[in-house]
């Protein structure tokens, strides 16, 4: 009987395709809206991913990577002496006004890396280019948003707070959420570019000793220095939540995503329910012959779940194709976490099951006498 149920489903080509396309479209709608949302939120934390270190130490006031609260220079020594810390290096991030030699002025995000280790540089910067940061006045600029400065090339010069800076490399780092390009430099040079007086150390990057629980090391740092210490993903979350709370992205975009889910669910339910209702005469014939309600319900449920899974597969496949053809650093923020795919599967299957149940209710209560009438 179940084989027949599937044959009835597939052989009606046009209805079958309509169903599959409808559900695939619904899935795509949910997953791609969700992916853009996730991509956008992750972008708020892209500097954290680019830096890619296990532990971030910050002033207790800091609520996101974009909060630059300077700590005293001596925190570096104090962090280094904490139990379980393998190494700790400075990392500074400050906005500064820059002027290109073509006369264009704008804000840049000036990042200072540890002079010796250069830890925290994005993996995209080739080793050889990174080494050149030790040359006098050297900076590396990210390509994204650098158009504001006439898209400088290697060898071009800048002025930052009246101090000369020379571009030794242009790299594709991840797009972040600020509209400014990032300038990578060393910590000591960054201090020279910035107005004198402050120490400008915003972050200490830490690697825990191997075999020691990073969470434990974070606690140790907090207890012995009074600073905040986050593991990478905790800091990512803190940053995303900060941006979420302060920009209204989750609410505004969340409504769009929710709308996507509702529309997707409605399409799924509607197409499936229509299909079932159009089959009601045939199912009525089965009832007249003597099919039990239980068998009938299983047939309908099987049909509903089959189209649900096939449609979902195609929709999710299309979503990941979009993710694959979308260049890593394009304007389209796009990230599809596993959880999103599972959530979409849940939504699609839930609505397939719900509309199947609705159809079952209709079919089970159908008067088989109708098949005797013309």
């Amino acid at each position: 009987m179940y084989v027949l149920a599937l044959k009835m489903l597939c052989r009606d080509r046009i209805k079958f395709l309509t169903l599959i396309v409808g559900i695939a479209f619904a899935t795509l709608l949910i997953t791609q809206q969700g992916s853009i949302f996730c991509g956008l939120m992750l972008r708020t934390a892209s500097t954290i991913f680019d830096t890619n270190v296990p532990i971030w130490v910050t002033d207790p006031e800091v609520r996101s990577i974009n909060d630059s609260v300077a700590m005293k220079e001596d925190v570096l020594q104090r962090v280094r002496s904490v139990n379980g810390v393998e190494w700790a290096v400075p990392f500074s991030m400050n906005n500064a006004i820059a002027q290109s030699d073509k006369g264009e002025t704008g804000v840049v995000q000036l990042i200072g890396l540890d002079d010796e280790s250069l830890i925290g540089a994005p993996a995209e910067i080739p080793k050889a280019v990174l080494k050149r940061l030790n040359e006098p006045d050297a900076v590396i600029i990210t390509r994204s948003r650098s158009e504001n400065f006439g898209a400088p090339m290697e060898g071009d010069t800048f002025e930052i707070n009246d101090r000369r800076a020379r571009v030794v490399g242009v790299v594709d780092a991840s797009k972040n959420f600020t509209p400014f390009p990032s300038l990578y430099s060393t910590h000591s040079k960054a201090l020279l570019f910035l107005p004198p007086g402050y120490k400008y150390l915003n972050f200490v990057l830490v690697k825990p000793k191997s075999g020691i629980d990073p969470a434990r090391v974070c606690r140790n740092i907090q207890e012995s220095t009074g600073l905040q210490a986050f593991q990478q993903w905790d800091f990512v979350w803190k940053t995303m939540i900060y941006w979420g709370k302060n920009t209204g992205i989750p609410i505004n975009f969340g409504i769009t995503v929710l709308l996507g889910i509702i529309v997707g669910a409605a399409i799924t339910a509607q197409t499936l329910y229509t299909f079932m209702i159009e089959n009601i005469r045939q199912l009525g014939t089965f009832k007249a012959i003597g099919i039990s309600n239980w068998q009938l319900a299983s047939m309908v449920m099987l049909q509903g779940l089959s189209v649900g899974l096939i449609g979902f597969g195609i929709g999710a496949g299309l979503c990941s194709v979009v993710g694959l053809i979308n260049p890593r650093n394009s304007e389209l923020a796009y990230y599809t976490p596993q959880e999103l795919v599972i959530m979409a599967l849940g939504v699609v299957l839930t609505f397939c099951v719900l509309s199947s149940l609705l159809s079952i209710r209709k079919v089970v209560t159908v008067d088989p006498a109708l098949v005797f009438r013309g």
């Binding site: 009987m1 084989v3 027949l4 044959k7 009835m8 052989r11 009606d12 005469r281 045939q282 014939t285 089965f286 009832k287 007249a288 012959i289 003597g290 099919i291 039990s292 068998q295 008067d367 088989p368 006498a369 098949v371 005797f372 009438r373 013309g374």
Partner: protein, 239 residues
């Protein structure tokens, strides 16, 4: 004379809006086993209603239905099981599933009984050969003529070897020749298997296939005719 179906005091009314109309006004009837019985009467006199009640698909207001000594409680699980095992249906619209082939359509009653796919298909094909469609087993209903479709419906009704076959206007959508073929087929197959056939029809062209004809009018049985070639049947008079 063995009895296939016995009805007593059968009443049924329908309410449409606030008017209630009595469609069956107390029917007492005995239908003999292993014979072909026709039910005729003007449109709207309650024929379809009557067979729906016999099949246990429609609930009567009052009265009793017994088929082969089994009381039928409409819409109960037991009556559904009983129907599946003992009654084959041929509908006026044949009600074949358009997306299933002749063999698949004919195997439906067996598959509902959870008979394995291959076995069901084998039986369905054998039955289709019996009705002369051995070379059309993989055709879809849309690829068959009206008469052929009705023969698939006959194969479907007979494949489960039911003791009672109920037909509602089996020849209404067929021309005289095809109608004749379908009825000869039904007669041959039912006499081979000692089956009881109950046919609702308007079609006077096929009356001589009947062993007896029950005439209804306005929700009541008004006459029972025995075909002239038939010996007197006491059962019809309820003796």
């Amino acid at each position: 004379m063995r009895v296939a179906v016995s009805l007593s005091g059968l009443k049924k009314s329908f309410t449409a809006g606030d008017t209630k109309s009595l469609v069956l006004k107390g029917i007492d009837l005995t239908i003999p086993a292993e014979e072909i019985t026709f039910v005729t009467g003007p449109s709207g006199c309650g024929k379809t209603t009557l067979i729906s009640i016999i099949a246990g698909i429609l609930t009567p207001d009052s009265g009793r239905v017994t088929i082969f000594d089994t009381p039928i409680v409409a819409k109960s699980r037991d009556s559904t099981k009983f129907r599946l095992a003992n009654i084959g249906f041929i509908f006026q619209q044949h009600n074949l599933v358009p997306t299933l082939t002749a063999a698949e359509n004919a195997s439906i009653p067996l598959l509902i009984r959870r008979i394995p796919q291959r076995q069901a298909r084998r039986k369905a094909i054998a039955m289709l050969s019996e009705v002369g469609l051995g070379d059309r087993i993989d055709h879809l209903p849309s690829q068959l003529s009206g008469g052929q479709q009705q023969r698939v419906a006959i194969a479907r009704a007979l494949v489960g070897e039911p003791r009672l076959i109920i037909c509602d206007e089996p020849t209404a959508s067929l021309d005289a020749e095809n109608g004749f073929h379908v009825m000869s087929l039904l007669k041959r197959l039912s006499s081979e298997g000692d089956r009881t056939v109950l046919v609702v029809t308007h079609d006077s062209r096929i009356y001589n296939f009947a062993d007896s004809i029950i005439e209804m009018e306005d929700g009541q049985v008004v006459r029972i005719d025995l075909a002239q070639n038939k010996s007197y049947s006491n059962a019809m008079r309820g003796d």
